[in-house]
């Protein structure tokens, strides 16, 4: 474990930041360009995971456990969100037979 930590600490922090930023951006772009609710949802999860990764990296960098604890919180709450989110999507699929987000545009103007 010690070795792993040291090995990880050997990687410059900036790389982590960059990587997470890229993953996060991919997630954002995914949300931006996809129309399927499930895919969008997955992209959001990707964003959250980018955050998780970064948190962990910072946690190691600062040698502080709270960052990693935070990751657990995120995961737990993301799970809750997934449950609710999927339920909503299912509900909509039942009503519209589609998961295309742009089909739902009754509420506008």
């Amino acid at each position: 474990m010690e070795n792993v930590t040291q090995a990880l600490q050997g990687v410059p922090l900036n790389h982590y930041i960059l990587l997470s930023a890229i993953i996060f951006a991919i997630g954002v772009i995914g949300v931006l360009i996809r129309r399927n609710a499930i895919v969008i949802f997955m992209s959001i999860e990707l964003m959250l995971n980018a955050v998780n990764l970064l948190l962990t990296a910072f946690s190691v960098h600062h040698n502080d456990a709270s960052g990693q604890i935070f990751v657990f919180f995120i995961m737990a709450l993301a799970a809750a969100e997934v449950a609710v989110g999927l339920a909503i999507i299912v509900m909509i699929f039942r009503n519209t037979n589609s998961t295309d987000v742009n089909i739902l545009n009754k509420l506008k103007w």
Partner: protein, 459 residues
């Protein structure tokens, strides 16, 4: 802190009451529990609060004040839910439970002392609301509202989290006090991560309160959700969002005022214009209220733009005034919609002739929202303007005045419809619960407007 615990237990209790089909006990139990939580919160006033739960939360006067108003507003909203939930669904207990859970999240949001708790509070609140928005499962509008709210909410949560992470990266802590210490200790050498973190937090929080250009979900969700839920979202949730926003900036970021202020200034103006101008040309009263709520966010942002000793006070009064007036507006909307089946402005025609009392309370509410003196709304606007002027944001305030004028236009439309337009209509059935809520809210609105002293000196 006992009120948070009370609430959580209450929520579960209510859920069980629902399981045992004790429908008639739901509302009294909820109200009683809320009243208890309210009392417990108030009792801690001026208790010389210290961070509790390992520094995760701080139940100071700020938190107590916002807790109080949030619980209080919730009570008012639940009072008018008497027959409402029954009419749209058979799972009434879930409503109460979800609202209570959401309220618990809100309590966390207003009293956090650690960014973790901010996140948790926001999520508890949001997840409950996602469900509440879509609770009318067969209603397309409700579905759409839920989906939009959920997708965009989750999306914005990502930014909130990223922001928190970057702050953590820069400071190595989630604790507000320590973050503040970090800012104070490094007046010059603050990490770029920290700045980016602030920006991302602004984005996340702006989404939660519905500030432009992150407001797009608001009108649609407000329109699509069941009216009572909309009432809850636009009052209690919004208040909580601001409390969280303000708490963070007041505690941590105040010294970096120069960095984030211009951005918020622009956001605030944008919000004002988007909210007011769009509200102008709405046919649906409910949708108009949604846009008006966006515009009020613009005013409340003043307090953060011109961050100072008076900020919390201003936001508190503004939020109180706004919440109470909105509750009246939504309550009347429910009554009108129940009778006419529509929520456009025309449904209000001739209301004053049939129900002068309801019309009068709605008039008071509208005047309050418009910021006319002798109503609480005026005191709120007045304080916002004072706060902003104290920091010499003269142009901001002048543009805000312009917006206030636009605002008066659409608030008056309701009054015009009620008093000056005739229509054949029957008397609206309004229960004593409604009458109580309407009368009481109007009374509070006027009392605060006439004698703001007792509420304006809290902090």
């Amino acid at each position: 802190m006992s009120s948070l615990i009370t609430l959580s237990i209450l929520a579960i209790l209510v859920l069980y009451l629902g399981l045992y089909k004790a429908k008639n006990a739901l509302l009294p139990a909820t109200l009683l529990g809320l009243a208890g939580a309210l009392v417990l919160a108030v009792l801690e006033w001026n208790g010389g609060a210290q961070p509790i739960y390992s520094g995760m939360m701080l139940f100071d006067n700020f938190a107590i004040a916002f807790t109080t108003i949030c619980i209080f507003s919730t009570m008012l909203i639940l009072l008018i839910s008497k027959d409402y939930f029954e009419s749209i669904s058979e799972h009434v207990a879930e409503y109460y439970t979800l609202i209570l859970f959401s309220l618990a999240g809100i309590l966390v949001m207003v009293s956090y002392h650690n960014l973790t708790m901010l996140f948790i509070g926001v999520e508890i609140m949001s997840v409950s609301l996602y469900i509440l928005a879509g609770i009318r499962k067969d209603d397309f509008k409700s579905n759409e509202a839920a989906l939009k709210y959920f997708l965009m909410g989750a999306f914005s949560t990502g930014f909130l989290l990223f922001g928190i992470t970057l702050l953590y990266g820069a400071t190595g802590t989630f604790d507000l006090t320590q973050i503040r210490d970090y800012v104070i200790a490094n007046p010059t050498g603050i990490s770029p991560l920290f700045y980016t973190g602030i920006t991302l937090l602004i984005i996340g929080l702006c989404f939660k309160v519905g500030a432009a250009p992150f407001h797009f979900w608001t009108p649609d969700v407000y329109e699509g959700s069941p009216t009572l839920i909309t009432a809850f979202m636009s009052t209690v949730v919004k208040t909580a969002g601001f409390a969280a926003f303000l708490r963070l900036f007041l505690m941590c970021f105040a010294p970096l005022h120069d960095f984030w202020m211009p951005a918020l200034l622009v956001i605030s103006l944008l919000t004002l214009f988007v909210g007011n101008v769009t509200a102008l040309y709405q046919h649906s009263f409910k949708r108009m209220l949604a846009f008006s709520s966006i515009s009020h966010v613009g005013y409340m942002l003043f307090a953060i733009v011109a961050l100072g000793v008076n900020s919390s006070n201003s936001v508190f009064i503004y939020a109180t005034a706004y919440s109470i007036a909105s509750i009246v507006a939504f309550a009347v909307l429910i009554l009108v919609k129940r009778q006419t089946g529509a929520d456009n402005f025309d449904s209000f025609n001739g209301l004053a002739k049939k129900n002068p009392f309801i019309a009068f309370t709605l008039t008071v509410a509208m005047l309050s929202l418009a910021g006319i003196p002798l109503t609480a709304g005026f005191i709120g606007k007045f304080m916002m303007f004072s706060t902003a002027l104290a920091e010499y944001h003269i142009w901001l305030v002048i543009l805000a005045v312009l917006n206030a004028v636009i605002g008066i236009f659409y608030y008056l439309r309701v009054i015009v419809a009620m008093y000056f337009k005739g229509a054949e209509r029957n008397e609206i059935q309004s229960s004593s619960y409604f009458n109580f809520v309407l009368g009481f809210s109007a009374l509070i609105t006027v009392v605060i407007g006439v004698y703001p002293g007792f509420i304006s000196s809290l902090f």
